[in-house]
Symmetry: C2
Subunit: 305 residues, 2 copies
Amino acid sequence: MILCAVLSPALDVTYHVDRLQVHDTNRVRTIASRAGGKAVNVARLLRALDEPVTLIATIGGPTGELFAHDLQAAGLAAELVRGDLDTRRTVTVVADDTGDATVFCEPATHADWDTFLERTASSLHAADLVVASGSLPRGVPVDGYAALTRLARDRGVPIIVDTSGPALIAALDAGPQLVKPNLSELIEVTGIEDPLRAATRVARSSGGAVVASLGADGLLAVTPHGAWRATLSRQLRGNPTGAGDAVVAALARGLLAGADWPQLLTSAAALSGAAVLAPCAGEFSADDYAELIGTISVEQLAEMT
Amino acid sequence: MILCAVLSPALDVTYHVDRLQVHDTNRVRTIASRAGGKAVNVARLLRALDEPVTLIATIGGPTGELFAHDLQAAGLAAELVRGDLDTRRTVTVVADDTGDATVFCEPATHADWDTFLERTASSLHAADLVVASGSLPRGVPVDGYAALTRLARDRGVPIIVDTSGPALIAALDAGPQLVKPNLSELIEVTGIEDPLRAATRVARSSGGAVVASLGADGLLAVTPHGAWRATLSRQLRGNPTGAGDAVVAALARGLLAGADWPQLLTSAAALSGAAVLAPCAGEFSADDYAELIGTISVEQLAEMT
């Protein structure tokens, strides 16, 4: 079982309006809502790939119950810690005339982090791999991802960390098997513009692997076994939200199956592409995934000294 | 007791953002939420004026429970009918750099209208006056306000109706004691641009009184006892949301107390002005109200033949 630790759960609400009228009143035509947060997207993708997965998240209040209900409706197993703060919402307003989206993110605050850590520790006995994703909410110390990493390592469970900034820097010290920054996150934590040099710096710092998602330029991996770049042979147009989560899902699945790095990167780049083509984060079409697998080229890179 | 019938209850959520970034992601700095809907604003104002008041509304789902909780926190007595639809939200995004507000209104749908009518009928025994306010939600027939008006009239309880369009036209046939359209609503239901002629037409249609709120031009009343116009001697700058609800609250209170029309219009125009000066709908400062009372002039108009 892959345990997905959701540090910033949210109920993602989508409003459709005919057109966005700024500084005026907009009638919402349709409303949709579902459980969100980066690790939730990862879990949705893993479940669609028939991979056993369990979420762990702290939720609270009536919005938390809607979050829980949606997970249940989606058939996603979840270990839910009840806290005393209402789960946050994000509101995405889609203007149907242009298709453009304007997003409002309520601030994330984690209630009772210590209980979450304890419950995660208890859940680790059944876990083969941990994915910990998301921004660092208020209420979680900057070494929150580092603490999760140490918990997993102490029990011999590999962990993938997908976060950014100081939380990522702190996590590297704890030695996660894999981190997955995007290009701007990679530059932010290293101060180095060149992706290969920056990823090499991060990999040395953690002692594990780094897979950086470079958008249209594909994926770059720097690992203890070598460095590779995976690219798609064609440009994709679509919704990039959740593309990084697809990379994490594919890597988690491949690592568990014992795939080698070229295989890992091929499936990660293909699933990420299929996620771009899907309308919502956490979704993909199996046909797109299968078709894109054949369009990925992986090139081994000279390692930096 | 004044019974306030809330046909379109909503949880009004306010997000503050530093500035509104259209087609981008906005971090919400602060969130506030409270029970809303026009009749809720009327009830808040009446309670602040120490007038006994009870709300009746159909609510549902987790948002309905937040609505109920906020009424309780505000000390507002409420008869709440539980339906099976989640109460809607409105989301107002205030950009702190300019102070401008962009509003998103989820559509209103009323669950189980027949039960609401029955419960309203039961509540009428304790009511001295009814206020029925709001737009016509889905699930309520176009003669919904007319049905409420007949219920009240059958029991000898006066009713003030504040709605618009076809729902207002249908209500007029049932003969409410008072209707309170604003200028655009008055023009919409009559097709007449001149406010006095339009209000006279509406008053003849209902057999009762019409008080039209004309924004900065004050109030216009056409009643079975004569016609008047009330104006403020100075222009007010502020938040016009809820100004019409303040007119309704003052008229409800004055009608119960047996005030004459010049007194009714003076208090209605002053409370409306105090509401404009207050930051939120349903609020006012007692000092503003007291000060504005002295600035209202009421002029009797020649009746139209």
